[in-house]
Symmetry: C2
Subunit: 135 residues, 2 copies
DNA sequence: CCGCATCCTAGGGGATACTG
DNA sequence: CAGTATCCCCTAGGATGCGG
């Protein structure tokens, strides 16, 4: 009753980064949060945003997010069924994280000019620097 | 020669968040970056920072980070061997991301007062709100 | 529309031992 | 010190089908 931390903290990670990442673990949690940040979505709406996700996996990851207290699941007892997913207040505290993730993806993975510049000059793969850059 | 993007982008993710997370994928990459952000480290120095990591896994994850261009590996041809790992310029662009991850972990996973408040009030697990909070 | 149950596989990741 | 090489297990995650 006084220990929601036990649920939230999964395997007592030693480092704050590790801790946070444990909640984003799984192939789809990050993207789910990213979309839910922008507003409540029904199951199939969410599914359409994630073209590659399986029904099973979407359900599973949503349940885990719910169990972590990051996402709320609201069932409307109507027919056909209507289930809405939304960020909880706790979930919303992840916004800076998700924003940072999204920003980096935009800048350095998708084809922006600055991203390409840096990729060239950092040269991990091609350009040997001073002593012995491994291959 | 003009396509480092092919190496960097692994499976052409559809969303920037997904893209970024694909580089943090694996059990240890986040923590590795977290520690390397603070400065260059030798293999065993890094290992001591990650008490639970296996030699094999540390090597593997470092190689993947290197291949992504986020981390550089410098071999000094001396005996005993000396290998230093450091962030590349591209890797350093992840600092805002890693900082955000670390901050959230500190605030909401480790036992800070605000974190506990929010966990109680967001009540994903216990407190039914209006219609039917699932259980 | 939303989701569970079942079956199945690839590969992530641990343990341990050996090398330059 | 900084790795490879083996073996082996486990489970994340895909495919498919049923049900309210």
């Amino acid at each position: 009753m006084s220990l929601p931390r036990a649920k939230l903290v999964r395997n007592f990670p030693g480092c704050p980064v590790e801790a946070t990442l444990s909640y984003l673990d799984g192939k789809w949690k990050g993207v789910i949060l990213f979309h839910l940040m922008k507003g409540t979505l029904r199951f199939n709406q969410l599914r359409r945003k994630l073209p590659a996700v399986t029904q099973r996996m979407l359900t599973k990851q949503l349940r885990e997010l719910e169990e972590s207290g990051l996402v709320s699941r609201t069932v409307f007892p109507v027919v056909p069924p209507r289930v809405e997913y939304a960020m909880t207040p706790l979930g919303m505290t992840l916004k800076p994280v998700v924003d940072a993730l999204a920003a980096w993806g935009d800048d350095y993975v998708f084809c922006s000019p600055e991203g390409r510049e840096l990729r060239m000059s950092s040269g991990g793969l091609h350009a040997p620097a001073s002593p012995l850059q491994a291959g």
